[in-house]
């Protein structure tokens, strides 16, 4: 993210994902994927534009806390590396959004947190800390936290980065099972080419802060654009 202070970092991004669909934002490292995701939940302010999820919107140029709060209640976010709070237990991590947004009582929030963790395939004690779960377990616990408010849209930043192929495959299966069950939209921000071969309804290729290509896996595979070709044909070269 270098350059003159006044020059834009991400340009004219136009994203769309429907109910129960998966959008993959595929791009090399440092292409602006994480920055883009941060903007989608109002963690950064943009110079122009609009963002809306299921009727709730906020002005990304001047995010207002009240609007953001309503918006964020509809969006679950899984950050790269899980981003669970390390000093509190896994259950408390999952309880937090329930206590804050739904004002549930502590016992009810705890029961709901246990159910959410069971849905993502985790069983923990009251005192289990995130560090005791291992990387794959932490990712699943973070997924449970992201789904706590039953969001309409799930944003995932490099969701399986650092997991072995078996754990990554199992995570994908859990994710898609939950998507089928709850019908939420998913936007995956990743540089991992394997997602291009997963059941994404649409792939947006991000490079240099711009969407340089958009389409289905089949249409993009036919592209002669060097950036797209370099990204999508990497798997064949790696074989």
């Amino acid at each position: 993210m270098t350059g003159p202070a006044s020059s834009p970092l991400i340009f004219d991004i136009d994203l769309f994902v429907g109910c129960g669909e998966t959008l993959l934002v595929l791009g090399p490292i440092q292409s602006g994927k994480s920055m883009l995701m941060r903007h989608l939940v109002g963690l950064e302010s943009a110079s122009s534009g609009t963002i809306a999820v299921d009727g709730e919107s906020f002005d990304p140029t001047r995010p207002v806390e009240k609007e953001l709060r309503a918006f964020r209640a509809r969006v679950g976010v899984l950050f790269e590396g899980s981003a669970l709070l390390r000093r509190i237990s896994v259950l408390e991590n999952v309880e937090l959004p329930l206590l804050e947004h739904e004002h549930r009582s502590r016992p009810r929030a705890r029961d709901a947190a246990r159910e959410l963790l069971a849905e993502v395939g985790i069983e923990v004690d009251d005192e289990t800390l995130p560090v005791q779960l291992g990387r794959a377990g932490q990712r699943r616990a973070a997924l449970a936290r992201a789904l706590a408010l039953r969001p309409r849209l799930l944003l995932l930043d490099e969701p399986t980065l650092g997991l072995d192929s078996q754990a990554a495959h199992e995570f994908d299966e859990t994710l898609h099972g939950l998507q089928k069950k709850y019908n939420f939209g998913i936007v995956i921000f990743s540089h991992e080419i394997r997602y291009a071969y997963a059941p994404a309804n649409q792939i947006d290729v991000l490079a240099g802060g711009r969407i340089v290509a958009r389409g289905t896996r089949e249409s993009l595979l036919e592209s002669n654009d060097p950036v797209i070709h370099g990204l999508l044909h990497r798997r064949e070269r790696e074989r």
Binding site: S7, L15, G18, L43, A52, A213, R214, D225
Partner: protein, 287 residues
């Protein structure tokens, strides 16, 4: 560059149920501390005051457990350091004061100075400086690590205020722990003074206690405790702000910890100067 966008894409969007739509252009962040350090510290201080009030009126809230945890880490954890350092400070003060007064043949009144100066000035200041070295770097480092690891962003993305969940419990714990540690330190400085006065200066215990009794009043201890409350607030706000205001780099953790110690030391000394100046220019405030 032409985009290989599927034909009919726009029409598809118009008719489908819309979930996420967005079009925007992004400029680089204008710096991590909009408005500079003073405004940033002010925001943390005001937010912290607000959420501490909330914790006090909602003692069964989700963050109340955090206060107990922080009290254990920041207060009980510092007890051994404060105790050992305070006895040494008492001894140092005895030798230093006796050495100066010896020139005037007034060595015997050194206990008067230890009792008065120890509780009003040395006790709160030494405890604050010990807590700065032990806890300010830990607080800033912890928050900077949380920023680098995305935990702060995760809180914000859930509309959870980091000041409420992270800063206010630490601030409240320090506001309780520092005055308590200061009172303990006052006692141990006096104990160190007793050791020095009786073992090295050759005065007896009764003489020392009489000197302390005549020089020390409850108001001295109260003034020391009030100072330590101010120091606690300064340490919590500066260390937290330094930790939360870093960018998302691992190297920023060490930088934040170092800066927190430096700014907290300066902050504590500045606050102490201010309090002493107020007492000097408005003597009626001195109890």
């Amino acid at each position: 560059m032409s985009l290989p966008v599927q034909s009919g894409d726009a029409a598809r969007r118009a008719t489908r149920e819309s979930f996420l739509t967005g079009e925007f252009t992004v400029r680089p962040p204008r710096g991590l501390r909009p408005g500079g350090r003073f405004l940033s510290r002010g925001r943390v201080a005001l937010g912290s005051l607000h959420w501490m009030g909330w914790i006090l009126v909602s003692p069964r809230s989700v963050v109340s457990g955090g206060v107990a945890r922080e009290l254990d880490a920041l207060g009980v954890g510092a007890l051994r350091l404060v105790c050992s350092a305070s006895i040494l400070v008492g001894l140092i003060a005895t030798f230093q004061v006796a050495y100066q007064l010896k020139q005037y043949g007034a060595e015997s009144v050194s206990a008067l100075a230890i009792g008065w100066f120890g509780t009003r000035e040395v006790g709160p200041l030494v405890v604050a400086l010990l807590v700065v070295t032990r806890s300010a770097s830990a607080i800033a480092g912890e928050f900077a690590a949380m920023t680098a690891g995305g935990e702060i962003d995760a809180l914000r993305a859930m509309s959870l205020d980091p000041v409420k969940y992270l800063v206010a419990p630490k601030n409240l714990a320090l506001l309780v722990a520092l005055p308590a540690l200061t009172v303990i330190a006052d006692g141990l400085i006096t104990l160190g003074g007793w050791v020095g006065t009786t073992m090295f200066l050759g005065f007896n215990t009764r003489f020392y206690l009489e000197q302390i009794r005549s020089s020390l009043s409850t108001s001295d201890i109260a003034i020391g405790a009030v100072k330590s409350v101010i120091f606690a607030f300064v340490i919590a706000v500066i260390a937290s702000d330094e930790g939360l205001g870093v960018d998302r780099r691992v190297a920023a953790i060490g930088e934040a910890a170092s800066r927190a110690v430096v700014y907290c030391l300066l902050g504590v000394l500045a606050a102490d100067t201010l309090v002493n100046a107020v007492f000097y220019f408005i003597p009626s405030l001195v109890l």
